[in-house]
Symmetry: C2
Subunit: 356 residues, 2 copies
């Protein structure tokens, strides 16, 4: 698994896929198999007076990845319907949901027109940590790379008097801070599961894809931790140079968390409304990513939230300094043997049959 | 009806309501009464395995008016549900729909947060001249001041070789052009009714509010026609002065139409899927609107479509010239006795009982 195709030719990693895309594709394959095996669509549809199969994609963002996931789900669901006549063949309705601040205009503009898409689309604004849909109105819930975002930075981490006060860092590393993050994740995930238990029909499936830890590895041992540490230390360096206030750096923390499979399992089991159908950490052959590319990747995801706190001037300078630092041979980011984050895939079935 | 309160005091027209708002409020009152009398909500809900009452607002735009309409509907529906316990009390889901180009981001940001609103909200992008929702999935459809927008400028009107070629004008006045517009409206309205017949449950209601003609009056006899003629002749004047190309003016027409009640009735009866519960042209005491205000009103609605065709420079100049012209005593706009547009209110019930 360690020998990756070198160069930039058609068979190279460089050209073929990024880490995230590859892992997500592997996850989609498993989701397809699980739908084939575990979803009793005829029974779900029979108990629905609307004859509509309703899918929600939660944390959809603006983009094409979300349409790909929906296509995968439809490709897996449709063959199970067999050869029904067009009068009784169910229709599909897909709800694309994200925070109110999401760019739904862009999302809607990139949707294929109604005549070229086998489903009705709707956008649902709001937080998935609370209710979004009527009771027992969904048959399938999908969420990819969204649940690692916390509803907020854990309170103790931003409190000067707390033992988890995280001055000079932007993500968890010490025991106290990690605990505060883990606690916030458990709380958020619990709220998510509770809200969805209300909205999914009995027998409905939920597929969650969450960036998380490889089995037996701590976050601090991953390449990602190094990348975030580089970002944090560059910020502190800028504070020492007087380019940004030290206080502003001290109270800034990223609201993201990367759970382990065991941690996630314990949270799900606490809820009691779901049966775990599948749970695994999907790895992907390590990619020879250039350190500069890593920083660009982080920039693409976190630029908005960093810019909001520090202003866009500081953010530009920060990422410029970071990618210069990242390219230095002394920096550990060049060590391609370090563990990278895995993709945790969880398939849950809502207890009960038919509508709750 | 002719004596309006003068001045700017608390009882004056100036302070109390604009023409449109007042007429819309009157329409909402009648919608409330019709819901009370004609909607058998218990039966509709009983045949819905979801226990959800689904409302669509079509042509919602971005704004607060749409939330007000939904509130009116909910206020009328809720008392009919009686004292059910919270377990069986239905939930409400409201679909706000408009063209893909609509600003849904602004719409979503102005929604009250989920915890402060008695319904789940979703946005649905697409044209209401085609399918937007699964079969028999809606219990109430509302549309206000949207169906007067045509899906396109009638083709013959923009064809140089056609007898309905509308050179030098921007809306219908001659017989041929009016016929082409009327034909396009009938076609669009037919598609709308057909799509909704598929989506409304049997027994479901539809409330349409459309700006239209007072009984027995032609469009050319209304104050609105004068306003659009002023706009058109100003454009031609600008073409003569070389400020805009004459060709561009010749091929520009506004895609709006103001039907009469009889015309609308004939289109609806052709469909056969609805029972007409109510149909009336609501008038409103005429307002002493300043000519400049009329032009501002037109600008607010049509600036976008005019700017798209002519560019924003031309548009600015056009409205400036127009409001200067409108203020001249010789202009007929000062004649407050001319008929103004009415609001046509139509309440339809989908044939059949329970789900189709």
């Amino acid at each position: 698994m360690d020998a990756v195709n070198e160069g930039t030719g058609p068979q190279s990693y460089t050209q073929n896929s990024s880490y995230q895309r590859g892992a997500l594709e592997a996850a989609q394959e498993i989701i397809k198999e699980e739908i084939a095996e575990k979803l009793d669509i005829k029974q779900l549809i029979a108990s629905d007076s609307l004859n509509t199969f309703r899918i929600a994609d939660l944390g959809c963002a603006t983009g094409p990845n979300t349409f790909l996931a929906v296509q995968t789900i439809l490709e897996a669901v449709q063959p199970k319907l067999g050869s029904q006549n067009s009068q009784t063949f169910p229709e599909f309705q897909v709800f694309f949901s994200d925070l109110v601040s999401n760019d739904f205009n862009t999302l809607f503009k990139s949707l294929p027109p109604q005549s070229q898409r086998p489903y009705f689309a709707a956008g649902v604004p709001g937080s998935f940590h609370g209710p979004l849909f009527p009771k027992a109105s969904l048959h399938f819930v999908h969420s990819s790379c969204a649940l690692n975002w916390l509803s907020q930075v854990p309170k103790p981490v931003a409190e000067r008097t707390s033992s988890a006060w995280n001055a000079g860092k932007i993500l968890y590393s010490s025991r106290e801070v990690t605990e505060a993050y883990s606690c916030q994740f458990a709380n958020d995930m619990g709220l998510f599961l509770q809200a969805r238990a209300n909205e999914l029909v009995g027998g409905g499936l939920m597929a969650l894809v969450i960036p998380g830890l490889p089995v037996g590895i701590l976050f601090s041992e991953t390449r990602s931790a190094l990348e975030f540490e580089l970002l944090g230390s560059t910020l502190m360096g800028m504070a020492n140079m007087g380019l940004v206030s030290k206080e502003k750096v001290d109270c800034f923390n990223l609201p993201v968390y990367f759970p382990s499979l065991e941690e996630l399992k314990a949270i799900i089991e606490r809820n009691r409304e779901y049966k775990i159908e599948k749970m695994e950490a999907i790895s992907h052959p390590k990619m020879k990513t250039e350190p500069k590319q890593c920083i660009s990747g982080i920039k693409a995801v976190f630029e908005g939230i960093i810019g909001k706190h520090f202003g866009s001037n500081v953010t530009e300078e920060l990422f410029e300094q970071c990618s210069i630092k990242a390219a230095k041979p002394s920096v550990l980011l060049l060590d391609t043997d370090m563990p990278t984050l895995h993709v945790l895939l969880v398939i849950l079935k809502r207890n009960g049959n038919g509508n709750a």
